[in-house]
């Protein structure tokens, strides 16, 4: 069936899914003024929710300080990490949070234009999002002199991607917006100084922007009460795989993997992939680790595997993904991922030696160090963690051409 795009079920959660009335954040932002918004944001300790975890306040301050005739706010809605779908839920069910967040960002750094880079796969959202933006224009939440504040002009337009995972990387996203191949740039210079068309640009994840109106309206102190010392606030987790209740959950940072498995009613769980294909795969012995920037970090993707799953097949699926999605610009990523996939296929056939496997792991570490962007830096994570954490299953069991080492 064609998917019904909205659920009538009201979600609840400590921060993002708590009560919020559209425009409250914008009104409060005007009241506070630029400096105080930045202070409030700094006090909240908000970090980027896309996975990298850079301080949002720092990003905003750098672009606020930049001197330029134009500035841009870009909302990164190129959600492509396998197992991630929180942005879909936010955009469909809580667009007011995302757009209010962009308006506040525009007000704070003095940008007049906001761009939502929506992945091509989400084109079906376009009518509802554009309808929502039109309503905001009618209510004077977008356009000229927003809420009668002299000189507060801001507009949002939506641009579509065309099916490229790497465009979720902020500089690749900017290249794509400028009409080029979505190949990541060298950094520095960072987009906060030299971004879209060379102007200072903030690129924030959908979830980061959606947190902003709450923080501004309810205060950094309120936000900070959630989470842990090093990871403030809450996080949306997109849970999929072998469990009875997959879906999007808003939980405190610091939630243990075990606790999450209970919430989603996962049984006979063997492994949890934290952070999607570019994240790490954790075995049962590590389920007491907590989900936080200081421990097991994730942009939100949690994929659960039960006892019946073949870990090597899962790894092959991940490596095929990276071989396809590598932009091919830098050698470590382009060639490295192909070699790692080849390695997985050789293990499958039983054609390997342990020194070959060790060479591949070393290659993985080289890719982590030498790749130009996050794709190649993180793609070996699942390769290394699956081969290390599930070596009994992969190497010691009876496979074609291999002697049974362990019963």
């Amino acid at each position: 069936m064609e998917t019904t795009l909205k659920t009538s079920k009201k979600r609840t959660g400590p921060v993002l899914f708590s009560n919020y009335q559209q425009a409250d954040g914008i009104k409060k932002a005007i009241e506070l003024g630029r400096e105080n918004i930045l202070l409030e944001l700094k006090n909240s300790g908000l970090k980027g929710r896309g996975g990298a975890g850079f301080s949002t306040a720092t990003k905003w301050m750098l672009s606020a300080a930049a001197n330029a005739e134009k500035k841009f706010i870009v909302c990164n809605a190129d959600e492509g990490e396998p197992g991630t779908f929180k942005d879909r839920v936010l955009l469909l069910e809580y667009p007011e949070l995302v757009f209010d967040g962009m308006v506040i960002a525009g007000f704070t750094i003095g940008a007049k234009t906001g761009i939502v880079y929506l992945r091509g796969e989400y084109e079906y959202m376009l009518p509802s999002l554009e309808g929502f933006l039109n309503n905001m224009k009618e209510e004077n939440l977008l356009g000229k002199n927003i809420l009668e504040k002299e000189g507060f002009d801001f507009d949002i337009n939506i641009r579509l991607g065309s099916g490229a995972y790497v465009c979720g990387e902020e500089t690749a996203l900017i290249e794509s917006l400028e009409g080029y191949r979505g190949e990541p740039r060298n950094r520095p210079p960072f987009p906060v100084n030299t971004g879209y068309l060379g102007y200072p640009t903030i690129v924030n994840n959908v979830e980061t922007l959606a947190s902003i109106p709450h923080i501004i309206y309810k205060g950094g102190e309120w936000f900070k009460k959630n989470g842990t010392d090093k990871s403030k606030g809450s996080k949306l987790f997109s849970v999929s795989g072998d469990c009875r209740k997959p879906g999007v959950y808003e939980l405190q940072w610091g939630t243990k993997i075990n606790e999450l498995l209970d919430i989603v009613e996962a049984k006979n769980c063997k492994a949890v992939q934290v952070g999607g294909a570019s994240g790490v795969c954790l075995p049962k012995s590590q389920f007491n680790r907590s989900l936080a920037y200081e421990d097991a970090v994730t942009g939100g993707s949690i994929i659960i595997f039960d006892e019946s799953r073949n870990m090597l097949k899962i790894l092959k699926n991940f490596m095929e993904f990276f071989v396809e999605e590598s932009c091919g610009q830098c050698t470590p990523c382009r060639v490295g991922n192909t070699k790692l996939l080849e390695g997985v296929e050789n293990i499958e056939k039983g054609e390997y030696t342990f020194s070959y496997i060790n060479k591949l792991k070393e290659l993985g570490k080289t890719m982590q160090a030498a790749s130009k962007c996050g794709l190649g830096q993180s793609s070996p994570n699942s390769f290394i963690s699956i081969l290390d954490n599930f070596k009994e299953e992969i190497f010691y069991s009876n496979r074609k051409g291999i002697k049974n080492v362990k019963a």
Partner: protein
């Protein structure tokens, strides 16, 4: 291509460039629009876009070749993209894949003889909690089983 068709295409490209602007940052939007309307971006279209935007045709081709939703070869009237990423794979993508191939008599990467459907794989659609999932043009279908998927495909024109 007939001269009349060529003229129509040029006219259409001119109209799109008027709508989106002839700055470089409009290129991707123009390509997306052409792809949507003509199901591919032909050599002739690439040259026309390049001429009107004052860039080299190779620049246009390089952008098309980068994005998986753009193509230089003609596609069917409907593009079906089945998600093959891990969550959909675990939810039963293989069974859907086999049923669809058998029903249409083509493999993934091919187009039916009547130009009705092109079958393609795609990476994660962001429907991981509702797999297996597929896109038909821009619409998304979830919780598929083999029979349901085939019925949906048989209904599209």
């Amino acid at each position: 291509m007939l001269v009349v068709e060529k003229n129509n295409l040029s006219y259409e490209i001119e109209r799109m460039i008027k709508e989106y602007g002839n700055d470089r940052q409009s290129l991707l939007q123009i390509l997306q629009a052409i792809q949507k309307k003509y199901k591919h971006i032909s050599d002739f279209a690439q040259q026309e876009i390049a001429r009107l935007m004052n860039i080299h045709p190779v620049e246009v081709y390089s952008v098309i070749s980068f994005y998986s939703f753009l193509s230089t070869e003609p596609k069917g009237r409907n593009i079906v993209r089945l998600c093959k990423t891990i969550a959909c794979d675990m939810a039963g993508k293989d069974a859907v894949e086999i049923a669809v191939k058998r029903e249409l008599g083509i493999s993934f990467g091919e187009t039916t003889n009547d130009q009705r459907i092109s079958l393609e794989y795609t990476n994660c659609l962001g429907m991981c909690n509702e797999g297996p999932a597929m896109l038909i043009n821009e619409k998304v279908y979830t919780h598929l089983d083999p029979e349901m998927a085939v019925n949906i495909l048989n209904e599209i024109k």
